[in-house]
């Protein structure tokens, strides 16, 4: 088995990577040192819970309100996806569905699953769980796509007499979900996934 910094009583600086004897601050770059991210699971849970609660209004409230001569249209994320699907842009519909609905949901599910598996001190499929976390960290930012699209639609249509487009409260909630899930992934310490499998070997 591979030895760890923790099992050798050493610490790695989270910023510059210097491996050293336990100390308060890194002598090289002065970052604060910890064996593991402090309160990693508690912080992740709190942020995940907040994100899960915001996910509901983010999907139910309109993200974009279009007023034109023909009336007012209130688009939620899902109705935007359906509009693309029925107007012949299936690829675009699939893209927006993936980044705006699927990714946040899978992110909430995956991080909760990883946190639960650490609470249960699971030793199963450690490699797969490590890979899952890597993917979650990588794809999370792409969910901001819809917020950008709404912002651009509002600004670009503003000065024409086509219609008036306003950002709905759903857009802000959705942006909140993206920020909260990114913070949750950031507080999560992937080394915890490996720590329980370590415990048995030592």
């Amino acid at each position: 088995m591979t030895p760890t910094a923790l099992s050798h009583g050493l610490m790695a600086c989270p910023h510059c990577g210097l491996v050293q004897e336990p100390a308060e601050h890194c002598p090289r770059c002065r970052s604060r040192l910890h064996h593991r991210k402090p309160d990693s699971l508690t912080r992740s849970w709190a942020l995940l819970l907040a994100a899960a609660i915001s996910y509901i209004p983010a999907n139910l409230l309109p993200v974009m309100i279009t007023s034109s001569l023909t009336g007012t249209e209130r688009d939620t994320i899902m109705s935007g996806v359906i509009y693309f699907w029925t107007s012949g842009s299936e690829g675009l519909a699939a893209l927006i569905f993936t980044v705006s609905i699927l990714i946040p949901l899978l992110k909430l599910g995956s991080l909760s699953f990883l946190a639960v598996s650490i609470h249960l001190r699971s030793e199963r499929s450690v490699h797969q769980r490590a890979k899952l976390f890597r993917i979650v960290e990588l794809v999370g930012r792409w969910s901001m796509l819809d917020v950008f699209v709404v912002a651009l639609m509002v600004g670009l249509v503003q000065f024409s007499n086509l219609a008036i487009i306003e950002a709905g409260p759903g857009a802000a909630m959705f942006g909140g979900v993206v920020v909260l899930t990114m913070l949750a992934a950031h507080s999560f310490d992937p080394r915890l996934i490996w720590d329980s499998s370590e415990r048995q070997d030592v």
Binding site: M1, T2, P3, T4, A5, L6, S7, H8, L10, A12, P14, H15, C16, G17, L18, V19, Q20, E21, R28, C29, R30, S31, S87, S89, L92, L95, I96, V126, H127, A130, F133, R141, W142, M144, L145, V147, F148, V149, A151, L152, V154, G155, L156, V157, Q158, F159, S160, N161, L162, E166, A167, A172, G175, V179, M182, P190, R191, I193, W194, D195
Partner: protein, 200 residues
């Protein structure tokens, strides 16, 4: 057996401890336990980082001063910059959305690029100064929050959406944003810890 902790490297993802080895140019070292990247011998040097960050700051400035898209409705031309879009959001009361877009598409990329530029310069002039450590930590903290590449995709999606309503002509800003996104990705591929290794 006496060990010098500085000769070791710990995996960021699983804490696996490995002794450092010399790598050939472009080669990378991966963790034996989890397969995560430990470090690589960079092809880029600090001076490349400086050049790319300055170039990206220039394209970012172009991206923010030129229209993203020019619309033509009933023959009346109409165009908007990103700052104009953010101002529209702010005016209609979507403060949080406006702030979020301002931060992720403008402020954070700008801060990240200028900090990388300063970091290289400070690293040359005063490698031991606390400012260098501060800048380095600042860049690392900002990295996940600058979303230029996501924004470029957002522009493309809005262009398609708008093309249902009017004649759209992609503006210079779209190309400038795309160029910035590529350069930010090149900078992000550079492991900042490498700058610390060279200093010791």
């Amino acid at each position: 057996m006496s060990i010098n902790p500085g000769d070791y490297v710990a995996c960021r993802e699983c804490d696996g401890l490995h002794s450092k080895a010399e790598l050939s140019v472009g080669a990378e070292a991966r963790c034996q336990r989890c397969g995560a990247l430990l470090y690589r011998h960079p092809r880029m040097k600090a001076e490349h980082l400086l050049a790319i960050s300055i170039a990206a700051l220039i394209t970012l400035a172009i991206a923010h001063s030129c229209p993203i898209v020019a619309l033509q409705v009933n023959g009346i031309p109409n165009s908007a910059t990103l700052i104009g879009c953010i101002a529209s959001l702010w005016r209609e009361g979507s403060l949080f959305t406006a702030l979020l877009v301002f931060a992720t598409a403008l402020l954070f990329p700008l801060l990240e690029l200028s900090s990388v530029m300063l970091l290289v310069l400070v690293g040359w002039k005063a490698p031991a100064s606390p400012l260098r450590a501060m800048l380095s930590r600042f860049v690392m903290a900002l990295r996940p929050w600058g979303m230029t590449e996501v924004f470029v995709l957002g522009v493309l999606v809005s262009l398609i959406k708008l093309s249902h309503l009017a004649r759209v002509v992609p503006g210079i800003a779209l190309w400038a944003f795309a160029a910035t996104a590529v350069m930010v990705a090149v900078i992000a591929a550079f492991d900042l810890r490498q700058l610390w290794e060279e200093g010791t």
